[in-house]
């Protein structure tokens, strides 16, 4: 077997895959944050909690109603996205005339409440969610063993990320969204219902988080803190990519996942801080982020 810089290839590719998986979640979550921030100008601090809700609602669906994984992939984002719509209508929409910090505080408070409720209801030990039978097992690629479900996570994330990018950058509806991000007043003066668009955009961003939560359920144990652990890193990813940039969020998400994976191979001691070190460096040289637009 060949070796690279004294690293066995199994370890290298294993960590690369792990990096890609983490990157899949970073990309999905930072994409949702970027879409929401672009139109609402709000940093959605409850994004991690909404990701966790996605995993829990999938678990509830399977355990209580017998809804299988594949059904959950469709239904859960709709259900959790609807809670997002309600939250935007009842609470966030009351804050648009105030400083953006109020939106951040509101969503941060909501995150604590949601996590607290789930901790009370389900404890912190975590609930199991099994891999769907079609994706159990794995494939031997010769140089490494590839678990099928993990490959699916990467593919599903890529499809959803690309689909979202396409919808925003290449369709009529996306043109409305980009225009409203730039000048909501004028878009309203053309007869477009901007408040409804904002509501649906928030719902969509939340649905993306919930979709990531369903994907995560079979990999990580379903527990109330799963979002809080992940979201800190995702915020760093968003800062590095640049607030509000769709493509930036996707590319940085996958890229940083891989960088983190490689750090685990070459200098494991730094793996948990690698992303934050990159964030500090990017902030020093490009305060608006790698793909961010300077206002």
């Amino acid at each position: 077997m060949f070796e690279l810089l004294g690293i066995p290839p199994q370890a290298l590719f294993g960590q690369l895959l792990l990096g890609l998986i983490n990157g899949s979640f970073y990309a999905l979550l930072s994409l949702g944050l970027a879409v929401i921030f672009g139109l609402l100008n709000i940093i959605n601090f409850s994004h991690g909690a909404q990701y966790m809700m996605g995993a829990f609602v999938a678990w509830m669906g399977l355990t209580w109603l017998g809804i299988p994984y594949w059904g959950a992939l469709v239904i859960v984002p709709l259900v959790v996205g609807t809670t997002g719509v309600v939250i935007e209508r009842l609470m966030i929409s009351k804050l648009y005339h105030l400083d953006h910090l109020y939106g951040l505080l509101l969503t941060f408070g909501l995150a604590l409440i949601i996590q607290g409720l789930f901790r009370n209801g389900f404890g912190v030990s975590g609930l199991p969610y099994s891999i769907p039978s079609q994706l159990s097992g794995g494939t031997n690629l010769g140089f490494m063993f590839l678990p099928n479900y993990r490959a699916w996570v990467v593919v599903a994330s890529l499809i959803v990320c690309f689909g979202t990018w396409f919808a925003i950058e290449r369709t009529r509806l996306g043109a409305y969204l980009r225009a409203a991000t730039e000048n909501p007043t004028l878009v309203g003066a053309f007869g477009i219902n901007v408040p409804r668009m904002i509501t649906l955009t928030y719902g969509f961003g939340v649905a993306l988080a919930a979709f990531a939560g369903v994907l995560a359920a079979p990999i990580y144990s379903v527990n109330p803190n799963m979002g809080a652990d992940l979201i800190i890193v995702v915020f760093a990813v968003v800062v590095i990519g640049g607030m509000g940039s769709i493509l930036g969020a996707i590319l940085t998400g996958f890229g940083l996942g891989i960088v983190e994976g490689l750090t685990k191979v070459f200098y494991p001691e730094a793996s948990s801080v690698a992303i934050f070190v990159i964030m500090a460096i990017v902030l020093l040289f490009k305060p608006a982020g790698l793909f961010g637009r300077t206002a």
């Binding site: 009529r172 043109a175 409305y176 980009r178 225009a179 991000t181 730039e182 000048n183 007043t185 004028l186 878009v187 309203g188 003066a189 053309f190 007869g191 477009i192 219902n193 901007v194």
Partner: protein, 243 residues
Amino acid sequence: MADAARKLDTSSSALAVRDLQAWYDESHILHGINFDVAPGEVVTLLGRNGAGKTTTLRAIMGLIAKRAGAVQFEGRELIALPARTIARLGIAFCPEERGIFSALSVDENLMLPPVIKPGGLSRDDVLTMFPNLRERLSSQGTKLSGGEQQMLAIARILRTGAKFLLLDEPTEGLAPVIVQQIGRTLATLKNQGFTIVLVEQNFHFAASVADRHYVVEQGRVIDMIPNTEIQTNLGKLHAYLGV
């Protein structure tokens, strides 16, 4: 203006504005604007900088949160309606800053305003009217020259089917040849039955396209001059506008 004019029968007007007041935060900008626009007319609002012309258009369009008075469009009261509803009734607005979206291509900018009623110009009609745009359709909207951006800003609202246009200083900062082209466009639109309210600083341009002129000063309409009587009123106009 006489009190009789305030109660004037508005049924024959496309737009009737009565005692329109508007505020930005605490500052009171419009102090009672009164004017009428008949169907098919081109009417200008003339006045010095800061007189309240732009604010008048924005208040009609529902873009100023604090406003009072009456704005009747084809018999419907607009004063309490949001901008999107006003747009859906058939009023199209072209802002002074043109409002070309940098995140959209020229084509996307052109196709952005939704069609609100039948009878608007087709995409092809519009591109025939503004041939420069046809070659730049895939460019980023804000990469166009100032004149092209102005044409795009007018072009995109002609597709919507709205026949009542509010144009805020369409000639501002443009080369004379472009100003002439916009003048010809407005004449064509008038022939096609569009009704136009035009805010202008360029008095000569205004005189070349409009049927009547309203003079705005300190948030009030202080005079109305038909374009046919403009020669006999030049001295008065120069005094109003300080030109």
